[in-house]
Symmetry: C2
Subunit: 166 residues, 2 copies
DNA sequence: GCAGCACGCGCAATAATATTTCGCCTGGGC
DNA sequence: GCCCAGGCGAAATATTATTGCGCGTGCTGC
C-alpha cells in the first residue's frame, strides 16, 4: 500500500498543493507545521515518487471561447484488446476529447469533450468520431450547467479512513 | 467576446500555465518571448480577470488509495429549478462526488466520483445517493481504465480557429 | 539497558526568482 | 505633427528557493 509510506505532513502537503498549486514553499511549510527546507524536500520527494504528477493552471473555458462541453457515450463493435487500444489512441489524438475512460456496463467508453460551439462539436462528431472504424454507437449529452468541478481526490475521505482504521 | 481581449502572448501564457502551472516566471517569459516583468504583469491580469481560476497539483489518485472511479447517471423525479439546485447542493456537500454536470437528454445529471474501494462507493450509493429525495434513478459505470485525462481546454483548437477567421 | 546508526528537522548562508521602479518607445487620437 | 496612454525592458530590491551542516530522536543490535 503506497499510501502508508506517507505521514500526516505529506498528506497535508498534497492536500494543500491540490487546492493551491502555486502556494509558495514558505507558506506551505507554515500551513503544514514544519520549516521551509524539509517542506521543500518533501515536495520534491512526492514529485519524484509520482504522488504529484504535475501542476496545472485552471483556466475559464467559457471565457476562452469554449462554450460547449459534451459527454459522449461510445459503444464499439469489437472489444478485442487491439481494438480498444486503437480507439484509445484515436482519442488521444483528438484535441477536443479531454478525457477518455473505459467503462464497464453497456457502454464501452465515455468521452468528455470541449468545443468552441455546437457546430464545431457536430463537425467533430459526424466527421471524426462517427466515421472512426469500430465505433458502433455514440450517444451525446450536452452539459447544461456545471454544479461542481473539483480536481483530484477528496483528502477528507482519506483522513477519515486512516483515523478510523488506526 | 472575452477572448478577443487577449493577444497571442496572453494565450501562450495560458497554454503554458495550463501545461505546467509551476513554471517560474522567468521560464514562462522566455517561452512566450517577452521579459519577466511584463510577463508577470500579464499573469496577474489574467488571474484578476478570471481567465485563470486557480492552480492545482495533479495527484495520483491510485497511489493515494483511491482505487475506484465511477460515473453515475442520475435521473430526478422533478426537474423544477428548486429541485435541481437542491440536488446540486447535495452533490457539493459529498466529498466523493468530484464533478456534477447537468445534462440534456434522458439523464438529468452525470456525477464523477472517486472512492477508496468498491465497498465505500457502494456505501455512498446506497446510503446517500439513492436515499436522496427526488432521486428517481441512478445508473453507475465503473471506470476500467483511463486512456486520457487532460485538464482544461485545447488551445490548439483555439489558435486554429483564430487564424482561419483572421 | 546502552552504543551506534539512519533519518529528518531546523538554522544559516547562498542562489535564484519575484516584484517594484522608472525611463523609453510605439501607436492612436486630435 | 504633437500629445497622451499603454506596454516594454533594464536595474534595483524584496522574497523565495535551495544547499550545507550540525543537532536531536528513535530504532537496531548487542
Amino acid at each position: 500500500m503506497a499510501i502508508t509510506r506517507l505521514d500526516l505532513i505529506d498528506r497535508k502537503i498534497l492536500a494543500e498543493l491540490q487546492a493551491d498549486g502555486r502556494m509558495t514553499n514558505v507558506e506551505l511549510a507554515k500551513r503544514v507545521g514544519i520549516s521551509a527546507p524539509p517542506c521543500l524536500r518533501r515536495v520534491r520527494t512526492l514529485e519524484e515518487a509520482g504522488y504529484i504528477k504535475g501542476y496545472h493552471a485552471e483556466v475559464d473555458a467559457r471565457e476562452l471561447g469554449f462554450e460547449v462541453q459534451v459527454f459522449a457515450m461510445v459503444g464499439l463493435a469489437s472489444q478485442a484488446e487491439a481494438d480498444l487500444t486503437a480507439f484509445e489512441n484515436r482519442c488521444r489524438a483528438w484535441p477536443l476529447v479531454r478525457e477518455c475512460h473505459m467503462l464497464n456496463g453497456e457502454v464501452d467508453f465515455i468521452l468528455k469533450c470541449a468545443a468552441p460551439d455546437l457546430s464545431s462539436f457536430q463537425r467533430f462528431l459526424t466527421g471524426e468520431l462517427l466515421t472512426t472504424p469500430n465505433v458502433a454507437s455514440v450517444k451525446t449529452s450536452l452539459v447544461i450547467r456545471c454544479a461542481k468541478d473539483e480536481p483530484g481526490v477528496p483528502f477528507e475521505v482519506l483522513e477519515e479512513r486512516l483515523s478510523t482504521s488506526a
